[in-house]
Every structure is written in C-alpha cells, then in structure tokens.
C-alpha cells in the first residue's frame, strides 16, 4: 500500500529530532542527522544484505521505545539492526551506558589485534584506528599472548592478514552477494575463528577486489599496492572508464602522474557510493590492471569528508565535519588531523615508488642521496677533466 510506504516516524537521537520512513534503522536515521550523533559501525554495511549486528560498536540506549510504549529498552540495542518506532528516543553519545559499552567493545577488539599500524596499509583510513582513537583507553589491560595467524595470499591480488581481522563477516557477504561463488568462509569457532579459503585456494572472480574496500581494517589488502605508499600521501581523483563488467566509476590514488591504487568511490561512512541508483562496486580489471593515467578519464578531485588522517592533504580544501562532543572523550581532542605532508620526506616526488619492488624505506632515500652524491661527484670530475682537456 502506497500510504504505508510513506509513513514517517519521528525519532529523537541525542536531542535531535528527525522524521524518517518506517523501516529505517536507528543507525541510518542517525546518519541522516550527521556524524556527530551517528554511532560507529564496524560490521554494518548498508549495501550488503544481512550485515551488521556482530561487532556491537553501534550499541545505543533506547530511552523510550515509542510514543505508544514509552518504556525504555532494558538492554542496549545494536542500532544497525534495530528499526525506529514512532516517538522513539535514543541516546548515543549522551548515554553513559552506551559509551561505557563502546569502550568495552574497543578493548575487546584490540586485545587480539596486532596494533601494527606503523606497517599496515590501512593506517590512515582504518576504522578501527578511528574507533579506538575516539573510544579507546590509553593503555591496555590485556597481558596475555595475542592470537596470531600466518599471512595468506589468496589469489594474485589480495593478501589476507588474519591477525588483523575483527570478524565483521563483510567480505563473506561480498563473496555471497557480488560474486558467483564464495570460496572463503569461517573456520573454527569462538576466538579461534578465522576467515579462510578452502585449503588456501585462491579467490578468483571478477568482483573479489571489493572485499578490500569493505574490510574495515587492514586484514584484506591490495597486493598491487602493498607497502607502496601511505594513503595520506596520495591524492585522490575521481575518474571513469568504459568497462563492460562494472560501472567503471572509481577513485584513483595518485602521486604526481602515477596511479598507485584504484578503489571504488566511498561515501562519508566509508561505504561505496550509490551511483545511478546502484552501489558502485568495481571489477578487478579496473581495480588492479588499469594503473596508468591514460586508462582513465579524470572527472576531478575527490572530496573526502571523513574524520581521519586520510582527509588531509588533498587537492580540494578538506571538509571538516562538526566535532563530536568533547565530553565523550573525557576532554580529549577528537580529531587526528596533522599535516604529515610537511614533515615527511617519503613524499618526495623524485622517487618512482611504484616501481620499487618492496616497501619504501629510509634506505631508498639514503640510496637516492648517495646516488645523487655520486652523480654530483661524477659531474664535478667530468667538469675538471673537461677543464684539463687541452
């Protein structure tokens, strides 16, 4: 019935009231209000059916269930999987209980996390980093051995680093919902669970690369980009090409004229954008094989409005979303925005990082400097020799 579809429910989240269609989840209603009240989501992904409910970072307190039944809900609820009711009152950042639970979740997620951000490709655009920066404790209370796994190359393009995984199950849903067959799954149970392919079989299909995009942490990384650069040194531009497999609308991550990596276009929540009414997933050809500027028609600079290191250093002026309430962080500054461009030499334009076989390290630069010295010395010698010539 058409009337039913248009039925609007009023919901108040952290004191802000908004009207949303029936069937909207609390999380999506909060996202419509804005990032200051939207609960963090590590496992929910609006474009993947059945996602959410697992990580529990999006827990909120429901202070009043609805106008009809204004009793508060006894437990915190996962906002990503709870639909709004008319007259519902939700407390997210204003709820001590929810914030306390979130601190707990961050602690749980981190006890078995390697915290290898300095060498992780995801650093700078990692949701776990942002989450722990906003909701984490200063130190850990965990003093036991952490769980580790051996890294696994699943196919030519993707590496699985299970130690970093937070078991959001998103990549399984990508495999189920975007590709024709799922070859990976969860092995074992409890905190021994791991994502794995059947006897380390390679994942091989045209849309598997999207798993990298949906992974909130650095567990699935792009092998064609691994260790090549830090994300915040790259300049994102929107580009497109004619592709017979996907929409062909992507973001290129460049340094100078060089394309370092290709990803799908992301919305402020880190999910792929909806373009022409469809989620703009991209195929592996676009993602892994078109690494020349010539392959693409550039649409213009990408605007990244997200609270993270990745939003620094871009062509366009950064859009800084309103600050989340400071009290939530017990007075700590919530934003991590530093101008790394200024302070690091890795960003130097005269090294072609994309042809380096491995990660760029200080030796690369020392070698470059030594090379320069040799060249200069040679030039000098030549000049002297020239001079000596009769």
């Amino acid at each position: 019935m058409p009337e039913e579809q248009e039925q609007l429910f009023t919901i108040t989240i952290d004191g802000v009231t908004i009207e949303v269609p029936k069937g909207t989840t609390i999380l999506n209603a909060a996202r419509q209000i804005g990032p200051s009240v939207a609960p963090p989501a590590m496992c929910y992904y609006s474009k993947l059916e059945g996602s959410g409910g697992k990580c529990r970072t999006c827990l909120v307190e429901v202070a009043a269930g609805s106008t009809k039944d204004p009793r508060p809900m006894p437990k915190l609820v996962a906002s990503c999987r709870t639909e709004v009711m008319d007259g519902m009152i939700v407390k997210n950042v204003t709820s001590e209980k929810a914030i306390d639970a979130r601190h707990g979740i961050v602690e749980y997620l981190l006890i078995n996390h390697p915290l290898d951000c300095p060498i992780c490709d995801q650093a700078g655009e990692c949701y776990l980093q942002d989450l722990s920066y906003n909701n984490g404790e200063v130190g850990t209370r965990y003093e036991f051995k952490r769980r580790t796994f051996v890294r696994e190359d699943i196919g030519p393009y993707i590496q699985l680093h299970m130690t970093r995984c937070i078991l959001c199950y998103r990549c399984l849903m990508v495999a189920d919902q975007l590709t024709d067959s799922r070859t990976q799954g969860i092995l074992l149970r409890g905190d021994a669970s791991e994502i794995s392919t059947y006897i380390s079989k390679a994942i091989d299909n045209d849309f598997s690369g999207n798993m990298i995009d949906v992974c909130p942490v650095g567990a699935l990384t792009d092998r064609t980009y691994r260790f090549k650069n830090r994300v915040w040194f790259l300049k994102p531009v929107d580009a497109h090409r004619d592709c017979d497999k996907c929409c062909g609308k992507v973001t290129l991550w460049n340094r100078g004229e060089e394309v370092f990596r290709v990803t799908s276009r992301k919305d402020p929540w880190g999910e792929v954008q909806i373009i022409d009414g469809k989620a703009a997933w991209i195929c592996n050809t676009c993602r892994f094989e078109k690494k020349k500027t010539d392959d693409w028609i550039i649409d213009g600079p990408t605007k990244i409005d997200r609270h993270s290191v990745i939003s620094t250093n871009h062509y366009v002026e950064k859009v800084i979303p309103p600050d989340p309430l400071k009290e939530v962080l017990f007075g700590r500054e919530p934003l991590l925005l530093m101008d790394i461009q200024e302070t690091s030499e890795v960003n130097s334009q005269d090294i072609d990082l994309s042809i380096l076989p491995g990660p760029a390290t200080s030796t690369t630069f020392i070698e470059r400097d030594e090379q320069k010295e040799i060249e200069e010395a040679d030039a000098e010698r030549l000049a002297i020799n020239d001079h000596k010539k009769p």
């Binding site: 529990r56 915190l76 707990g104 749980y108 006890i111 937070i166 078991l167 409890g190 905190d191």
Partner: protein, 450 residues
C-alpha cells in the same frame, strides 16, 4: 512422595517399546487431542501455566499463541533436545528411558500448532539416545501415530530426528534453527523472532524436551488439574538433575513446593552431602546461573526458606538470588574451590562461544586467561577487578544470551566469594597445593552490590 507426571512409568519394564508404553496408557493424549479444536488445546496449555523448561521459563501457552499463521505458509515445531548446559541431564533421562513420551508430546503439540513436519534436534553427543529415539519414532510410525492421516483424523505429521554436531551454542534456539537448515550454528539477530520467521523462513515454535513431554499430562488431565500442582506461577512438576557432592545424584521430579533444604537433605531426593561434609555453595540451575553460598541458598535475603521454584530461586535478583535455569542442580561441598570451579566454567564458555560478536568472542577468552592466572598463583589484586569489569561489559551487550551465561557465573563468584579470590592472590604457593579455597559456608557473606 509427590505426584509424578513424567517419570511415573519410567520403571515399568520395557517402557521403551511402543507395545508396553501403549498398554500403560500411552498415546491417549493424541487420541484426545485429535478430537479437539486446535485453539482449545492451546487454551489448555495456557491454563496449565506451563513454563518453558529449557532455562528461560517463558510461558509455553503464550509462546504458542504468538506463532504467526499466515495463509499458505507451513508452520514448524522444533524440539530442542540439544541439552548441553553443564549440570543438566534431565532431557537425556526422558529420551533414553521413556522415548515415546516425547514422541507423544510432539504429535499432540504438532497438531495444536498445525505443524505437519516437526523436528527433534538432538545433541550430537547423545548418539545412543538418538538411536533409541529413532527406533521409537519408527515404531510410532508403524503403528499409525505418525505419517499420513493419523488415526483417521486427516492430520498428517512427520517427525524427523536431526543430530547436531556437538556445539553448545546450537542449544540457543536461532542457532539451532540455522544448524537444522544445514548452516553454521550462529545465533540469528533478533527480531525477527522464530515465531514469525523460524526454520526455512517459516513461523516456528522451539520447545524444550521436558516442555513437550509435559503437554501429555496437560491434555490427559486438563490444564486446570496441572495448574493445581505447584505454587504461584510455578505450576506442575519439574525435573531437576542433581549432581556434585551429594549422596544420591540423579534426576528427580519435584512439585515446586518443596524447599531447597529438603531437596538437598531428604532421603527422597539428594540424600544430603556426600562423605559427611558440609554444604558450601550451589548452582541451582545449570552452569550459567549465579552460584549461591549456602546461607543464601537455604534462606532468602529476607530470611525465608528458599523453595525449589522459579520465583523463590530468583528472589533477590542476582544480588542475593539465582535462577531456576534449566534445572541443573550442582552442589559444592566445603572442600571445593570456587575459583577453580568458576575457571572451569569460564573455560567451557570460551571454548563454546560461536565467535560472532566481539564482546563474547574476545571477552570469554580473556576471562579464562585471567582465571588461569589467579588459579595458578600468579594473580594480582587488580585481576579480580579486571574480571569484574570484563564480565560486566559482556553482559547484555551480545547477540544471544550466551554472553550473559558466560558473565553471570563470574559475577556471582566474585560477588559472593571475593575473599576466596583474594586468598588465592595472597597465598600463591598454598593455592597451588590445596585445590580448595576457604570454606565460608557458615558465615553470613556480604554481598558486593555494585
């Protein structure tokens, strides 16, 4: 001797066979029910006040009336025989020794709910029980109580026995349904509840073995007669599986008017504490419910004697009370160490967590590790507070009740036996030699309330 409804015939020789069971008056409820209106059967169950015997204690009649009945969609009845709560073995007793009682209950309940295909999901470890049950199912079918057009009533019903693979979590009803569908046993995120979307996406009722068995006497004797047994909202009889340091461990059918003291000390039931020891503590409802020290077990905080029923065991909430749970009654004598005991429970929950949601997946492992540290004499005072903190943030924040089940025993152990934890920290060497803690059964223990 109180009235027995479920176990009265259990000692009749050959009761496992259809012939003897039928001769003893079995399958009468099916004959009676098939002549009734389905709505009336649900009414009888409502009147009886029967509460789910699996652990949550939800009124069965109400649960049945919640079942959605959309046109043209099949409905299912699933019997939860995945009894794996440590300390609980009452369902096994029923299925092993009087299997036809469950089958009779299944047919009657299936008819009431309009389920033409019903399932019994039995725990994988119960393989010999599954064989007994399967043999009984075959006999029932041969005698026309299952299959097409049962007793000429026009009602068709098949009951399938499905064996789990041995995961505790598959006792959670939605995980059970996933597993029944052949998938990984991961609890579903609710809503939708099984009454609306259960197995194969159809409305489903999931009931415990004992609950379904109790439907038989309710139909035979009427809901009102059933409701007269027991007290308050704890009607009928309840099976209790008693174990631990008692003289007579076993399964007992009680009406819920007797006191805990009588249950432990009378010769009709547990027969007192074994080896002349004294009672220290008890977990009255299976490993996941809070442990109670002797003083709070026998008397409520108000000083009244505690009775073996839902309300009285829960009197005082979790601060000074516990819960009826699944009826797994675990008794600890003065030589038992609560820290070691809770460590064992934590190890179990760590091993059995499905790993879907982060608080339970990571938290249960952490709890176990801290327990190990304390138990092996390496504990520090801060570890006790850490235990408290970790369990506190698991409880209520998870997808399924497993998280609570893992947190409650830890909370209760610290709440009531904190001095025993401290003793472990202060006497690291002694706690390695003696595997028991301090016996504080006689002192009034101060409850930690926050």
């Amino acid at each position: 001797m109180s009235k027995k409804l479920l176990l009265d015939k259990i000692n009749v020789p050959g009761i496992k066979t259809f012939e003897v069971y039928r001769r003893e008056g079995g399958y009468q409820s099916v004959e009676k029910a098939l002549k009734m209106q389905t709505g009336d059967i649900v009414e009888e169950v409502k009147k009886s006040g029967l509460r789910g015997r699996g652990g949550a204690g939800f009124p069965t009649g109400l649960k049945w009336s919640f079942l959605a009945k959309p046109e043209g969609v099949a409905r299912y009845l699933v019997c939860n025989a995945d009894e794996s709560e440590p300390g609980t073995f009452k369902d096994r007793y029923l299925m092993e020794f009087i299997p036809h009682l469950l089958i009779e209950g299944m047919i009657t309940s299936s008819f009431a709910l309009g389920s033409n295909v019903s399932y019994i999901y039995i725990r994988g470890e119960y393989d010999w029980v599954a064989d007994i049950l399967q043999a009984a199912l075959d006999e029932a079918k041969q005698n026309g109580f299952l299959g097409k057009n049962i007793l000429g009533s026009g009602f068709d019903c098949e009951v399938y026995l499905y064996r789990g693979a041995g995961a505790y979590i598959c006792g959670e009803e939605t995980a059970l349904l996933e597993s029944l569908e052949g998938k990984r046993g991961l609890p579903r995120i609710k809503p939708p509840f099984p009454a609306v979307k259960g197995v194969w996406g159809c409305p489903t009722v999931v009931n415990n073995v004992e609950t379904i068995c109790a439907v038989v006497p309710i139909i035979n004797e009427g809901g009102d007669a059933y409701a007269k047994i027991g007290v308050g909202k704890s009607t009928g009889t309840k099976l209790i599986s008693a174990c631990g340091n008692i003289n007579k461990p076993g399964v007992y059918e009680i009406d819920m008017t007797i006191s805990v003291e009588e249950f432990i000390y009378s010769d009709e039931y547990c027969g007192g504490i074994a080896n002349g020891k004294r009672l220290k503590a008890c977990i009255p409802g299976g490993s996941s419910v809070p442990i109670l020290p002797a003083n709070l077990l026998l008397k409520t905080a108000k000083g009244e004697p505690r009775l073996m029923n839902y309300e009285s065991l829960a009197d005082g909430g979790f601060i000074t009370g516990s819960s009826m749970g699944s009826g797994g009654f675990i008794v600890l004598d003065e030589d038992q160490c609560v820290v070691r005991h809770t460590y064992t429970i934590s190890r179990f929950y760590h091993h059995e967590s499905c790993g879907q949601c982060s608080p339970c997946r990571e938290g249960t492992g952490w709890l176990e590790k801290i327990f190990k540290k304390i138990e092996t004499g390496k504990g520090e005072m801060k570890d006790i507070d850490l235990l408290w903190d970790v369990q506190r943030r698991i409880e209520g924040n998870t997808i399924c009740p497993f998280g609570d089940a893992a947190a409650w025993p830890v909370a209760a152990a610290i709440r009531h036996f904190r001095d025993e934890f401290e003793w472990h920290v202060l006497n690291p060497e002694e706690c390695l030699v003696r595997n028991f803690g301090l016996a504080h059964y006689a002192d009034a223990l101060e409850a930690v309330t926050s």
